[in-house]
């Protein structure tokens, strides 16, 4: 993969951990939608040969030396994209849940609205079926929590189908949540007065493997993310008070 060749170039980022069964299909689908876009798979130290499969399918692979978790992997991809000069990065999960046919809509929203982050939302057109009940409750709960913090409603705060522009990329190279990053990342951007948009899209059941967030883990997820959200709010409020002159 080379440095971005133009000022407006997109990189498709696919974080993957033990996704040997699905990764080649995801890469092929992305290729069919965007034949020219570079595809970077971040292999989070998979043990099943994900990186060979991804390379054979024609993607570039950033291979982490040991398992960092989703946030660590995505941030590594963001760092590389930023260093190579990419303007936009759209993240597609390696399990096949995100349909790449929506990438152009996400990219168009980033380009046309000037927002810093765009979220592929499964709840804007009423297709939120592929989630367990505990998780669905968690999503509902976080909508309520995030509404006053973000200053506007977010329908699908846990969606990993997201695109960011270069300004957001710069922020995330310095600070990105390591576990369950989606919700905290939104708060990080909002505290910097960055804007986000949601684009309706349909998601599919994963092609292979199992989700790392089971019903029991969902409870831990809720606690962990809630703590992260409040820490971020406090951190940025403190910084804002320090930065602002005496009012």
């Amino acid at each position: 993969m080379r440095a971005a060749s133009g000022p407006d170039q997109l990189l498709v980022l696919i974080p993957a951990f033990n996704e040997v069964g699905a990764i080649a299909g995801v890469i092929r689908e992305v290729r069919s939608v965007l034949p020219e876009a570079p595809i970077l798979v971040v292999d989070d130290a998979s043990t099943d040969g994900t990186h060979q499969t991804a390379r054979s399918a024609g993607a570039d692979v950033l291979r982490l030396p040991y398992h960092l978790g989703l946030g660590g992997g995505v941030q590594a991809g963001y760092k590389l994209a930023y260093e190579l000069g990419y303007e936009y990065v759209i993240r597609v999960d390696g399990d096949g849940q995100h349909d790449p046919k929506y990438i152009p809509a996400l990219l168009a929203t980033l380009r046309e609205t000037g927002c810093h982050m765009v979220i592929g939302s499964r709840f804007q057109d009423g297709n939120g079926g592929y989630t367990n009940s505990v998780r669905a409750m968690g999503i509902w709960f976080f909508r309520l929590v995030l509404r006053p913090i973000l200053g506007k409603p977010v329908h699908d705060p846990t969606s990993g189908f997201v695109g960011v522009n270069r300004q957001a990329l710069q922020v995330f190279t310095g600070s990105f949540p390591l576990e369950y990053p989606e919700i905290e990342a939104l708060v990080v951007l909002q505290r910097k007065r960055f804007q986000f948009q949601e684009v309706p899209c349909r998601m599919r059941p994963r092609k292979t493997g199992r989700s790392t967030i089971t019903a029991v883990k969902s409870l831990y997820y809720i606690f962990h993310v809630l703590l992260g959200v409040f820490i971020n709010v406090l951190k940025f409020e403190r910084r804002r008070k320090k930065d602002s002159p005496q009012e």
């Binding site: 993969m1 692979v61 982490l64 660590g72 760092k79």
Partner: protein, 115 residues
């Protein structure tokens, strides 16, 4: 009370010895041994000095000096554990940043070799 103080004396001596041996064998770095040594020396001094222990229990408003000793031991070890959590978190952040940097450098080297 005397028996409890003997036990805490014994434990503090064991702790000091263990930490010193671990430092000598490079199992613990000197800078991380300081908290443990300080904690065990405080424990030892309070166990052997009834004057210090009585004074502290009076200051804390506790009628029972052994209770003051246990409270202090608890506080000292909570502080040590807190300090270790801070150190572990810093190390984890540094480790993640280094792993990411290593992966990026390897990626770029591989690209250069392929060119």
């Amino acid at each position: 009370m005397e028996r409890l103080l003997n036990v805490t004396t014994f434990l503090s001596i064991v702790l000091v010895t263990m930490v010193l041996f671990s430092v000598r064998r490079s199992h613990i770095r000197v800078e991380y041994s300081v908290s443990w040594l300080a904690a065990s020396v405080i424990l030892l001094v309070l166990s052997r000095s009834s004057f210090a222990l009585n004074w502290i229990s009076r200051q804390l408003g506790l009628a029972d000096p052994p209770l003051a000793l246990l409270l202090l031991v608890f506080c000292v070890f909570v502080i040590v554990l807190y300090r270790l959590s801070v150190i572990i978190s810093d190390l984890k952040d540094a480790n993640i940043a280094m792993a990411q940097r290593l992966a990026i450098v390897e990626f770029q080297l591989q690209n250069r070799n392929e060119d």
